[in-house]
């Protein structure tokens, strides 16, 4: 029996189906399952001849699947490689493929969320915001081009690398080198976010203490600026972090708490935008 090999065209189609369709048919019950099925279908059709074999192979991928879709491309690539090995009669069965898939989707989601959504996007958006001063479209264009380029090439790389290495690809994403890179990138992201906070959050107080003649004794804002510019902005960020991280309060509730703070602050004269029609 000649060794079966997935053609380039089929691999490209499988990648395309994942790249576009991984989350289009999302439900709380089966999040990325159908995206995964559509991605594996061309491969299964090429590797297995009879409808019965195809159906049996496809059955492997009907199990629940959900991960971070960009980094998760590597898992799709890995299973493509494993499926090819299975079709060639190696000692791999559907259950084993599913075990690898289920075992990887959790860690990859965690790494992907912190690396892609928590670091790469904020860095790119941070730089883009810096380019948007005065309403310039440059920042938005920068983000559109750089994000799509980096992520499309990155996903393509992960898919083919995963296919090539099969099960060994696991080491690339959970190895020591990857760990060091992740820590370094997260650090870069945190520094940029600090700069974003200082540049884009603008919380000021209008609180003033006046003497009998209407002269100012204490102008709280200029006092605070003397200590450290943007002190109130930093304090509010830390308050939000503390509420969410230490008190485990959800972001929506934190927003409501800020509404209350704003309301009380306005009543006390601490906040006053000072505006009229």
């Amino acid at each position: 029996m000649a060794e079966k090999k997935i053609s380039k065209k089929t691999l490209a189609k499988s990648f395309r189906n994942w790249y576009y369709g991984h989350l289009t048919c999302f439900s709380q019950e089966h999040m990325q399952t159908f995206g995964y099925l559509c991605s594996m279908l061309p491969i299964i059709r090429e590797l297995y001849d009879t409808p019965e074999e195809q159906q049996e192979a496809l059955q492997t991928y009907t199990a629940f699947f959900n991960t971070e879709p960009q980094l998760g491309t590597v898992i799709v690539g890995v299973t493509a490689g494993l499926e090819e090995a299975k079709a060639n009669g190696e000692a791999i069965d559907g259950e084993m493929i599913n075990g690898i898939r289920a075992g990887l989707m959790g860690p990859v989601a965690g790494i992907g969320d912190s690396l892609v959504v928590g670091t790469l996007i904020p860095i790119l958006l941070g730089i883009a915001l810096g380019l948007s001063g005065g309403g310039s479209p440059l920042g938005a264009i920068f983000y559109i081009v750089v994000w799509n380029l980096v992520v499309t090439l990155g996903m393509r790389f992960l898919y083919y690398k995963g296919y090539e290495l099969g099960g060994k690809a696991v080491e690339i994403i959970v190895g020591e080198k990857a760990n060091a890179i992740r820590e370094a990138v997260v650090m870069l992201g945190t520094i940029v976010i600090g700069a974003v906070a200082a540049s884009w959050i603008n919380i000021t107080t209008s609180f003033k203490m006046l003497n009998a003649d209407g002269g100012t004794i204490i102008d709280l804002q200029s006092t605070l600026d003397g200590i450290c510019p943007k002190l109130l902005s930093a304090a509010t960020v830390i308050l939000c972090w503390w509420l969410m991280s230490k008190k485990k309060i959800s972001p929506t509730i934190v927003m409501l708490i800020l509404v209350v703070i704003a309301f009380v602050g306005v009543l006390l004269g601490f906040f006053d935008p000072g505006l009229s029609y």
Partner: protein, 284 residues
């Protein structure tokens, strides 16, 4: 400023493409068109005022700079923020005669955008629920061996969910935008408590977005030092964001080298003086 039917329909289409789970795929849809900064450009182009669109989009973007959706739970809906919130904010700011670049203008935009975004999570759960129907069709197709139907289930039928949960709400709500601004003008004076609170909330909300991000990278107070390093760079030393990215990159390289050295020494002590090459470690 009025939003025409045609403009509302274009917003509706972008809402279908940009949501999570959207018809543009996550890379182009959710993570590109769904970002408020990009939406600011799109909405600005459609409304004929790119400058205002970008200013509003950028202000709202800070709140949602790290919108993570762990395990498919969402705290805010990007299609609502971007293609309902931004058009409404534009209409409101123009209608109330505010300067978009002022603190009040961005405060108004942020407060409105965030309110719409939080309410919009309804649309997310609506879309996901209707998709259950298509998935049911998909399971029957797998059973009967009609595999081609899977493509329709994954990529075509969800458009119906989006017509109901993205397109229609966007068109209807944005069309009503200018009426809403008149109501605000008549019933809520600018120097009243309600509007003052609204603007203040708008200035406070970006702190939540940054807080969400910090929560992921900082678990103890000393972890916040890295954040304050970046904060001080911009607030006290006047470094802009590109400058901060370069300085951050420099420190990231140093950290990477330190970590790699640590791993190496760990291996040396663990294996009695035998030094492994990096590439070999990867193959273990």
């Amino acid at each position: 400023m009025e939003i025409s039917l045609l403009q509302a329909i274009i917003f509706g289409l972008f809402a279908c493409l940009s949501s999570m789970p959207g018809m543009g795929g996550t890379t182009i849809g959710n993570y590109t068109l769904g970002r408020p900064l990009v939406a600011g450009l799109v909405v600005g182009l459609i409304m004929g005022d790119v400058k205002t669109g970008i200013i509003i989009g950028a202000a709202i973007q800070v709140v949602y700079i790290a919108l993570v959706t762990p395990g498919g739970t969402v705290s805010a809906d990007v299609r609502a923020i971007s293609y309902i919130g931004i058009p409404l904010a534009m209409v409101a700011i123009k209608g109330l005669g505010l300067d978009p670049a002022s603190t009040e203008g961005t405060g108004m935009a942020v407060a409105l955008g965030s309110a719409v975004g939080t309410l919009g999570t309804v649309l997310f759960y609506g879309t996901a629920t209707i998709n259950l129907v298509w998935q049911h069709i998909g399971w029957r197709a797998v059973e009967k061996g009609k595999f081609d139907q899977l493509y329709a289930v994954d990529m075509v039928l969800p458009w119906i969910s989006h017509f109901i949960c993205s397109f229609l709400p966007t068109v209807i709500i944005t069309m009503m935008g200018s009426d809403m601004v008149d109501i605000i003008k008549n019933y809520l004076p600018m120097d009243g408590i309600a509007m003052k609170t609204l603007f203040t909330v708008g200035s406070l909300l970006p702190a939540v977005g940054v807080g969400i991000l910090l929560k992921q990278v900082a678990s103890k107070p000393t972890d916040l030092l890295t954040f304050f390093f970046g904060f001080v760079l911009a607030a006290l030393m006047g470094v802009n964001l590109i400058g901060a990215a370069v300085i951050g990159g420099f420190f990231a390289v140093i950290l990477y080298n330190i970590r790699m050295l640590q791993y190496k020494t760990a291996h040396v002590s663990a294996s009695d003086g035998t030094v492994y090459d990096d590439d070999d470690e990867e193959d273990i």
